[in-house]
């Protein structure tokens, strides 16, 4: 009879909690209304004059709908959802739309299920998009493959909203059967796009195929063209953000309607979130760039709710869930208090740490690797991955390199790089040469290696590289730095080789230790060598990458002939 209770409570104005004296943002009329907000458990039953025994004084603060991160990969935080929540909830983000793309590439359906399970009872509202591109490319071995048939079982799950970012825009715009099957399965539901710089007829074809959002825009003209096609534009302020202020300023200057513009972070380092905030930081930037504050609030809440078909969040009105955030003002968006989906302030909300399915703990399966496996025979000129400082892009150059017995020997700033298939112990290994890491007398390694998350290792000697591989195998994945046979630093990420349930403070401390250790081996400080390592195996960023299948020329979309 709960619905009946709710209706009666609304009719009689009998609240279980009243937030007094708030400046309530009304996303429907673009007003700020000084009022009380009445809750009955986790549902808003009125905005007006109310009182009850359990009152919370908002002290004239600005009460907005809880903020929504419309696109985020939790795994990239390297902590489990419960820990990630503790970092973002205090910044007013009460809902995230997560794409478990990383864990799906490692553990497939079981990985998606694990994420779902880990987020069942959190005060943070965690919704999901079904990863659409697993594996991300056909040029590497991932831990799993997801086809439409695998996804069908998730259609009925209430927290699976639609299909995750369709990065493989070539398959979408050429209409391959496998991609069409997935798109058809989610027809009528939200389908996230991911299509940097596509335009004109390719964009038309992409839209006809189905994707209806984009979070990759890097300039205003791209925003405008995509908006014109009916795409929802997610303004991303993450660790990879680019020219966002310029885009926001132009939106404000040209009075572009913002109803289809929303916010996301995609990937954002935990430490950066703690320092500058989460979606409230997007809102802060928007207002600083000239977007009216109420519009910024809507971009951070209502617009996202509408874009993803979430009917009972994103507004403060009767019948809506009481996910709300109280700000000091609508300029700096400093948070006074957060009300979670349990209808309680965050600090009062109880939640239980989830029990994780054991399967996701056992994800690192490496076939025996020997010095022979890492041997790279040399020719007159060898292809070298040249890193570009402070960026993730690379250049392909051809060099004469040092060798002994016909095998490459690292020297003169060149390191050996290897990508070891680590999901099914197939023994598939790609070996190459990288310039720019500058590791001396040691090796660095990681099982976080977008998007297939094989084991990537770089160093100047085979012994330390083998030891780094063994060290990660032994701890179930993570990051490590090894020198002269000693593990200098290690961050175990036992969950799928991507995440840990260790406290956030520990993770940050170990990350710092890893960085310090890498620097002690001579690593270039301008680019975080461990992040750089994680992206050296991603065969979608130009110009050249190493996968477990070999050196890949991203500009030509083919393996480099050695």
């Amino acid at each position: 009879m709960r619905q009946q209770d709710l209706i009666r409570a609304a009719l009689e104005g009998k609240a279980t909690c009243v937030i007094k004296n708030a400046n309530v943002v009304n996303v429907f009329t673009n007003e700020i209304i000084h009022a009380d907000v009445a809750l009955y458990e986790d549902v808003i039953i009125g905005v007006g004059e109310f009182s009850c025994e359990n009152e919370i004084d908002a002290e004239g603060g600005y009460l907005a709908p809880g903020f929504i991160d419309a696109h985020v990969h939790i795994e990239s935080s390297m902590v489990i959802p419960a820990s990630f929540m503790k970092v973002i909830l205090p910044h007013g983000t009460t809902t995230i739309i997560a794409d478990p793309h990383e864990i799906a590439n490692v553990a497939g359906v079981a990985g998606v299920r694990a994420m779902y399970k880990m987020t069942d009872d959190l005060p943070l509202r965690v919704l999901f998009m079904m990863p659409s591109c697993v594996p991300a490319t056909p040029f590497e071995h991932s831990g799993a493959k997801l086809v439409a048939e695998d996804m069908e079982q998730f259609l009925r799950k209430s927290r699976i909203l639609g299909l995750g970012e369709v990065m493989d825009y070539v398959s979408a715009t050429s209409g391959t059967q496998e991609m069409l099957d997935k798109l058809r399965l989610f027809d009528g539901k939200p389908i996230d796009g991911h299509a940097p710089l596509i335009s004109g007829r390719t964009l038309n074809a992409y839209r006809v195929a189905g994707p209806s959002t984009d979070h990759e825009c890097s300039n205003f003209d791209e925003v405008k063209e995509k908006l014109r096609t009916g795409m929802r534009i997610l303004i991303r302020v993450g660790s990879a953000a680019k020219r966002i202020e310029d885009i926001l300023r132009r939106i404000a200057e040209e009075h572009l309607p913002t109803e289809n513009i929303l916010f996301c972070t995609d990937d954002k380092h935990i430490e950066t979130i703690r320092q500058e905030g989460h979606i409230n930081h997007n809102a802060r930037l928007a207002v600083a760039c000239g977007i009216p504050p109420i519009e910024a609030v809507k971009m951070a809440s209502y617009n996202a709710a509408r874009a993803y078909g979430l009917k009972n969040i994103g507004a403060i009105a009767p019948g809506y869930k009481a996910d709300m955030v109280l700000f000091e003002d609508l300029k700096d968006f400093r948070v006074k208090r957060v009300f979670t989906r349990f209808g309680k302030p965050y600090e009062e909300a109880e939640y239980h740490m989830p029990i994780l399915p054991p399967a996701v703990y056992d994800s690192v399966h490496v076939a025996p690797v020997t010095e022979g496996s890492l041997c790279l025979p040399v020719r007159e000129k060898m292809p070298v991955i040249e890193m570009v400082p402070e960026q993730l892009i690379t250049k392909l150059t051809w060099r004469s390199v040092k060798s002994e017995h016909g095998a490459f020997v690292p020297s003169d700033g060149l390191c050996k790089l290897a990508v070891v298939e680590r999901h099914h112990a197939t023994g598939s290994i790609g070996v190459g040469i990288v310039e720019g890491l500058n590791i001396k007398n040691g090796a660095i390694a990681s099982t976080v290696a977008h998007d297939s998350h094989n084991l990537v290792v770089a160093g100047d000697n085979d012994r330390d590289m083998l030891m780094a591989i063994e060290s990660l195998r032994e701890c179930g994945g993570g990051y490590c730095v090894v020198s002269r046979g000693i593990v200098l630093a290690r961050l175990p990420l036992p969950i799928a080789g991507l995440m840990t349930d260790a406290p956030v403070e520990d993770v940050l401390a170990r990350q710092q230790a890893l960085l310090d250790a890498a620097k002690s081996l001579g690593a270039d400080e301008r680019t975080d060598p461990l992040i750089a390592l994680s992206f050296l195996a991603l065969p979608v960023i130009p110009d050249v990458r190493l996968t477990d299948e070999g050196l890949f020329d991203v500009t030509k979309m083919e393996f480099v002939q050695q």
Copy 2:
């Protein structure tokens, strides 16, 4: 492989039809863009520069998404959907969201099915809301009763969008089990409201219960309060419109966001539609009242599509259906050309007249009625329904009336009124007295009698009243005027006693004949006596009505004790 063909056509810009030289309204960016629009069959594949063998010159006209009537009762037009379409499509309405409330009150589930079937193959896109209040009140006998269980079978039908107007706001705000069952069944789908003047906590309770739209607002403050609760407001310009210009002017003056404001007609006479237009008339009024033209277009199309979860109409962009209308300008909204859901101009679209299920033709079942059945015993003072000229409301007065042998005899401008249960031949008859119709030497009768659509008849002598009843029984329902034993005029409405498949011209001619005949019997010209008759049995309009169960005091919500 159709989806693959579409994607390829978009990628290659290969259209089956190109509309050249149009000023295209972009509802996403609020721009008017001079461009060509490329179609591949019924889908838009691009807006830009295109050409193909089959080109249509827009001659610089304004191309907008096809207009949407967000709430309409087709039955009130008295013609079948195919005929109704011919009246509205030329005015640019390409989609209607119909509530088959009238036929459902007569024929229940079979009535809804008949409407669905009759609209399957029309160039007009006809979508439905499931009638929520059948019967409309417990104070009368209707032809059917629809409970949640009956509605379940319609949930999977693609053209049934949600639950129709919840007129019974008392059941909703008090949370009766029967109403909650219906609301729960459509949880997460659009649920239309109908709640004139409700406000404050009652409105809160109504919103918590579920309804998310309202088309009954009669003043700006009501619009604003309902908008604040997250309701979509349908601006109705129908035959019952009230103070709409004032509302539109205030919306414009106060710069209220219009994203949740849409248009509807509800009930609008065919003749009025032909004269002033349909949803394009709403748009014309909006612009005349100061609403920016592009916003008016959005209220007429995009906003409605979004409110009802229609993802592929309401915009001119790749992937959207080619429902479009070409206007001379965005001020008078005069139509140059209409493109239907078949991807063809209206005049080229072929469609087949539907075969109607025979059941709906057999809806008038009246138990034998005699002069005895119509006998009204008199007391010292008798309750009289006093009609208010030019309005649908009535007053209850008590009078001394003429009688013979203890039975009421019409005289001095008083007529006898009877409501005869006509669905299941139960013999239930309510008899009363009405002032204001002024029928002399005759009777008028109708099987269109909101909302239960029993047979209502009024006259000054029993013989003509009995003949009028017999005349309608014999033709399967409709309207008639009888005098001195002769049927002066009749409009047969054989489909459920509500609609006919006769041509619109015939219907209009017969309506005029009915009106002339009624006037020849002395009927007051200030109110259309036949329309007035149709509303005399509707026990939700104050102050007093007659149902087949007796005289009902709407202000007290109880039967009048005689």
